[in-house]
Amino acid sequence: MLKNLVLSKSIKLTLNVRYFHSSTKLKSGGASPISYPSLEIENAGELQKMNLFQSINNAMDIALKSDPKACVFGEDVGFGGVFRATVDLRDKYGAHRVFNTPLCEQGIAGFAIGMAAQGATPIAEIQFADYIFPAFDQIVNEAAKYRYRSGGQFNCGSLTFRTPYGAVGHGGHYHSQSPESYFGHTPGLKVVVPSTPIEAKGLLLASIRDQNPVIFFEPKLMYRSAVEEVPIGDYEIPLGKARVVKEGSDITIVGWGSQMRVLLQAVHMAEEKLGISCELIDLRTIQPWDVETVCNSVKKTGRLLISHEAPKTGGWAAEISSTVQERCFLSLEAPIQRVCGYDTPFPLIFEKFYVPDHLKNFEAIKKTIQY
């Protein structure tokens, strides 16, 4: 078993940095695939090519193997789940540990809390993040406050909710939303969003083992399109730590999940067309988010852009923006930019207009630089 190893925050873009390639066209309309730098895991051992759902499957496989109290359940997970993330796990660990539930999200959340309070390690799947709202009460009122309410006598910290979120190109409003802010707003919960297969595995294992309830949002757009050489051993990536994907000096750009590839594309564009140097940060954990890494970066660059798919008003960018102006007021050289979804329901035909694509981000970078 490997130790919990993480790369230091700075990744040098040298020749031996590995990249993953997206095999499909970017949803933002970018024509060419981009190379996104892979996170280096020290002493990684044997590697295997995996896409995002395979690395998540691999993480659950390790969790089920290493923790006899772990179990996986949700709608249709028994035969692999609609995105194939749980494929083969039932055959491997038995129907008593990997099982289907009826269609009842509120019940799924409640069962998970009860099991966790008894010391089990439930890994519950909500089929789409858009379906999490029937479970909202259980998650916000019960899961988040179980430790608090019982004065520490009980807790449901061993539970993890996995759920696919975000735009896929044609999901419409019931299959595309990004509800991370609703949960980030709730003390007692941790909220994690991975952006690559390597990170998804390490972050999911850390989430499962974290002694607080975690909601793990998986960027469904990348389930198949993101492919990396993932270490097959056991490793964790600590929660609450952002990753500096690329160092730079003129502007700090913060995002998470599938937005990271869009932002990297915007960064390439800005560096090429504006001759500037951008620092790109993947927040990875939405709550508790890595204030230090973001603020240190802003103090260095003097400018900040935050981008997410969720609507602008009340989105997590607002929280980051507010904290940064409190901490870095004198370092700021331009107003903080938020490039987000519109304040409308997630559209179907107009998705291309709605999503904060690389062009909108490029425009915002330009505006900030020229302020």
Binding site: P102, L103, H170, G172, T344, F350, K360
Partner: protein
């Protein structure tokens, strides 16, 4: 695939309905139909009779309407595969007798609410194939101005497309409450599947509807699979008609339009008399996958699907009644089908060629008034 289907249809034409009780012609083009799968009742002293009388006009109507439903779904399937329809799309093939039978049992002043398997309901409620297909293709001519497809099906007294399974049922109870409050004498039919039947909201709706004696027909379309999970593995009791506990219920052969119609009339009458809610479990079957991304064969066998198709198909059953009673010839039925094919192809062409909604529709109909929408860079936006 299609040739396969045709072959099956042919087979079912010849050997099919030996399992069903035969109908007898009683003169004046009237036909008496006996139900071989009788009703089962729950908390009811007496259910409807296990037979029905029909006639040539009805039979031709039913054949036509159900064939239109089958056809629009086949067309939608093709449009999806050609990528004209994007997003999520759920087809109704096999379940037509439920939708059609209930329509013939009630009036257009009654209300219908259902989830996303809803294209045929729109048609049954009087919407045109053009506006349905245009909506599926996200065109401005669609019933909801092209906002987005299956989840946006609305027309007079019809509320379709709930994406969160079960969420439509309490909404239906609210519609029924209004009928009672305003003494309209109309009922609300709230449809949900066997998968949704396990959602907590359904039980909340049962309770309120019963407590306040609301004129609502809870219709559980039991097609035996909630997505890929069979009822056996999802429901502690698969007798969905008894799951209202204190709400009376009726088990109905949902593959037989006459059973559905008689049950529908019985239930509507029950509600209109002020008895409160009733549950109808429609035993039915979906030939296709749960959605377009589900082949529908990973959790059940092809043989199972084929067997239902060959022995219970609701349209073939009506065809069989018409032909054995010599109420129309095969050629006459064929010409009906040809006309339907033409109607649907024309609607598909219309939808394909219809214009997209104007860009500003991205931020319309969010609030009652058009308010500036934050984040939209162009007109009507807040300046950051």
């Amino acid at each position: 695939m299609i040739s396969n289907l045709l072959k099956l249809n042919k087979v079912s034409n010849t050997l099919n309905f030996s399992l069903r009780n035969f109908a007898t012609k009683t003169g004046n083009d009237q036909v008496k139909v006996n139900f071989n799968r009788p009703f089962k009742t729950y908390l009811l002293e007496k259910g409807p009779e296990n037979n029905a009388v029909t006639n040539k006009k009805e039979l031709i109507d039913y054949f036509t309407e159900m064939s239109r439903m089958r056809r629009i779904e086949i067309v939608a399937d093709g449009l999806y595969k050609k990528k004209y329809i994007r997003g999520f799309c759920h087809l109704y093939n096999g379940q037509e007798a439920v939708c059609a039978g209930m329509e013939y049992a009630t009036t257009k002043d009654d209300h219908v609410i259902t989830a996303y398997r809803d294209h045929t309901f729109m048609m049954a409620r009087g919407a045109t194939p053009k506006e349905i297909l245009a909506e599926l293709l996200m065109k401005e001519a669609g019933c909801s101005k092209g906002k987005g497809g299956s989840m946006h099906m609305f027309t007079k007294n019809f509320y379709g497309g709930n994406g969160i399974v079960g969420a439509q049922v309490p909404v239906g109870a609210g519609i029924a409450l209004t009928q009672k409050y305003n003494k309209t004498g109309n009922v609300c039919m709230a449809y949900y599947g066997d998968g949704a039947a396990n959602q907590g909201q359904i039980f909340e709706a049962y309770n309120m509807a019963s407590l306040w004696k609301l004129p609502i027909i809870f219709i559980c379309e039991n097609n035996h699979y909630g997505m890929g999970t069979s009822t056996k593995r999802a429901a502690a009791s698969q007798d969905f008609y008894t799951r209202g506990h204190f709400v009376p219920g009726l088990w109905v052969d949902g593959m037989n339009i006459f059973s559905v119609r008689e049950a529908g009339k019985f239930a509507a009458d029950f509600c209109r008399k002020g008895n409160g809610p009733i549950v109808l479990e429609m035993d039915t079957y979906r030939y296709v996958g749960h959605s377009m991304s589900d082949p529908g064969t990973t959790y059940r066998t092809r043989e199972e699907v084929n067997e239902v198709r060959a022995s219970q198909d609701p349209i073939e059953y009506v065809r069989h009644l018409i032909l054995t009673n010599k109420l129309a010839t095969e050629d006459e039925l064929q010409s009906i089908e040809d006309k339907i094919r033409e109607e649907m192809d024309e609607a598909a062409d219309f939808a394909i060629n219809a214009p997209l909604p104007p860009n500003r529709d991205l931020f319309t109909k969010v609030y009652v008034n058009e308010v500036p929408v934050r984040g939209v860079e162009k007109s009507l936006s807040f300046k950051p």
